[in-house]
């Protein structure tokens, strides 16, 4: 690459970064402001005071919430990866009657508005006695049509010679799945893992429904708890809450950056 090309590439990258990251930066900035500064519409706080953050932690037991969110997100992530990859494997590498029909049935589940299923699901979970604990927060999400679809798309790009070679070697399907398909699909698994973790992390309505105690609640409820309806919200505090809620995920993304890159590139076949 020539150096002019390189410089212009960096320039474009920096502009894009500025645009994409602005809202996040803005939230950070506001989280340090006091009420008046916020209402003045300033872009930067005049001083970096942490009082908003202190207040957030005072108001809601955010630490417990963070731990709960983390644990449930991790569990859902693992569950989804397992269940979806098993299903996607069947869809790509096995021929059986009704396969396409079932696949479409799976896809169709993505089209059902979550709002329509929430209440019946809540009743199901309640009758199973799963409320107020991780079971109710996680199990219903283990099956994920989206994840199955994502992995199916990836599995379909795996050269079929690998399957043939394993077949000839007399390896069981499951072993092929476990020892070949999963490793070579690392990039998609990483992507899906991040997706399911974050989706679960960001869930609000369902955890609110199935939990009644603070000990089982998650951060998004905490975020909502910071806002009031009729009287004025304290924007600095709300933004501090927003920052606290997104910070773990951002840190996770940044810290996992190396791993993520590696996962993405190592998936490269051939």
């Amino acid at each position: 690459m020539t150096s002019t090309k390189r410089i212009s590439l960096y320039a474009v990258l920096i502009i894009c970064t500025a645009v994409m990251m602005f809202p996040i930066f803005y939230a950070f900035s506001i989280s340090f402001m006091d009420g008046e500064e916020v209402l003045d519409g300033q872009l930067l706080p005049s001083s970096f005071s942490l009082t908003n953050y202190a207040e957030v932690f005072e108001k809601v037991p955010l630490l417990t919430y963070l731990i709960n969110s983390f644990a449930t997100s991790a569990i859902v992530m693992i569950g989804q990866l397992l269940v979806s990859s098993l299903a996607a494997f069947a869809f790509v590498f096995m021929k059986f009657k009704g396969r396409d029909f079932v696949f479409f049935l799976f896809i169709s589940t993505m089209m059902i508005p979550w709002e329509a299923t929430m209440v019946p699901n809540f009743m199901t979970v309640q009758s199973l006695g799963w409320t107020n604990n991780y079971v109710g927060l996680t199990i219903p999400f283990f099956a994920l049509a989206f994840g199955t679809f994502l992995l199916r798309q990836h599995f379909k790009t795996i050269p079929k010679e690998l399957y043939e070679a394993s077949q000839v070697a007399g390896i069981s399907r499951f072993r092929f799945f476990w020892n070949v398909i999963l490793p070579v699909s690392r990039s998609s698994l990483v992507t899906l893992g991040i997706y399911s973790f974050l989706t679960n992390w960001n869930m609000y309505l369902w955890p609110l429904l199935v939990t009644n105690t603070e000990s089982a609640r998650t951060v998004q409820i905490g975020l909502k708890q910071l806002q009031t309806q009729e009287i004025a919200s304290d924007w600095g505090v709300v933004m501090a809450g927003v920052v606290i809620v997104i910070l773990p995920t951002l840190i996770l993304l940044f810290a996992g950056q190396k791993k993520l890159q590696k996962g993405l590139t190592q998936g490269a076949l051939k």
Binding site: A87, T109, A116, A268
Partner: protein, 307 residues
């Protein structure tokens, strides 16, 4: 000879029909966890939804059979028609823009240059933002009195637009924030797809000396087609189901200009306590999206190149 002995033990399908039946069952075995969970948490509620759509009902259950009344009411109401319009517009505003933006960013960062990792992280970071958190931030940015958009407009001497209060702009504003929120994930997916393309394919193109865009059109996009097909399908479905940002930013207003179907479902089910109507809308939405997706699979997947 031991090889010969081994031979004798080769089981043949004709002799062991049970084995072949197992092979058939094996496929279903892999699907079992999904099927059970879907059955309980998706299909059961869906059938319940379909059932309820023929009743006057509230959260607890049906109380009066209504036949097609719910459907009739919905299809003849202005508000549902504006919902359809809002939904379609919303999908058209968000899906292409998100994918093109994500593709653009992914292509930019697929070059192996120094510090590219940090840019990749930046660009994927919006997927770490919850809808609730992002919406709060955007609501703030859109605020006509103190938000950054109006500040910039003032500074540039442009008229201040009431993004969320003006029915002409509200949907656009919600779409803009949605594009921002969904770009991160689409970006990551597309980047993953790009990384998966066999680098040998580019070697020949490099030797042949074709232009960047030719390479993009003839190699990258076709090889990326499974990924693109996925992200387009999923973005479509997601766009049809957008709810969170509308709830926070506009609550379906002004003058129902952002009252997309899912929001209308939510309102009927959770606020207006009219589960029958909500169910009927859900059923209509379901079949519309289903039809579109079937169409997409039929038309789209033919153009997709798998290995």
């Amino acid at each position: 000879m031991n090889a010969a002995r081994e031979l004798q033990s080769v089981p043949a399908e004709e002799q062991q029909p049970s084995k072949s039946r197992f092979a058939f069952l094996e496929g279903w075995l892999y699907l079992l966890p999904s099927i059970v969970l879907f059955g309980v948490f998706v299909f059961y509620p869906m059938f319940r939804t379909i059932y309820l759509s023929f009743f006057l009902a509230d959260q607890i259950g049906p109380f009066e059979f209504a036949g097609l009344e719910n459907y009739h009411y919905i299809l003849s109401s202005d508000s549902f028609q504006s919902s359809i319009k809002a939904t379609v517009l919303f999908v058209l505003f968000t899906v292409p823009a998100t994918i093109i933006l994500a593709l653009f960013l992914a292509l930019l960062t697929s070059e192996k240059i120094m510090g590219i990792g940090i840019f990749r992280t930046f660009f994927s970071s919006t997927m770490g933002m919850s809808v609730a958190a992002s919406s709060v931030i955007w609501m703030f940015m859109y605020n006509p009195s103190i938000g950054v958009f109006s500040k910039v407009a003032e500074w540039l001497g442009l008229p201040v637009i009431q993004w969320l209060q003006n029915p002409d702009y509200a949907l656009l504003a919600v779409s803009l924030s949605t594009i921002w929120m969904s770009t991160g994930f689409a970006y990551l997916i597309i980047l993953g797809g790009l990384q998966n393309i066999d680098p040998h394919l580019y070697e020949n193109a490099r030797v042949a000396g074709v232009s960047y865009f030719y390479q993009l059109r003839r190699i990258t996009l076709p090889m990326l087609s499974p990924t693109l097909f996925f992200i387009v399908t999923v973005s479509f479905i997601n766009a049809f189901q957008t709810f969170g940002q509308i709830d926070i930013l506009t609550k379906g207003g002004p003058v129902e200009s952002t009252n997309v179907i899912v929001y209308s479902i939510y309102k009927d089910a959770f606020i207006n306590n009219d589960v029958g109507s909500a169910s009927a809308q859900a059923v209509i939405l379901f079949f519309c999206v289903l039809a579109l997706t079937v169409l997409q699979f039929k038309l789209g997947e033919r153009k997709v190149h798998y290995q």
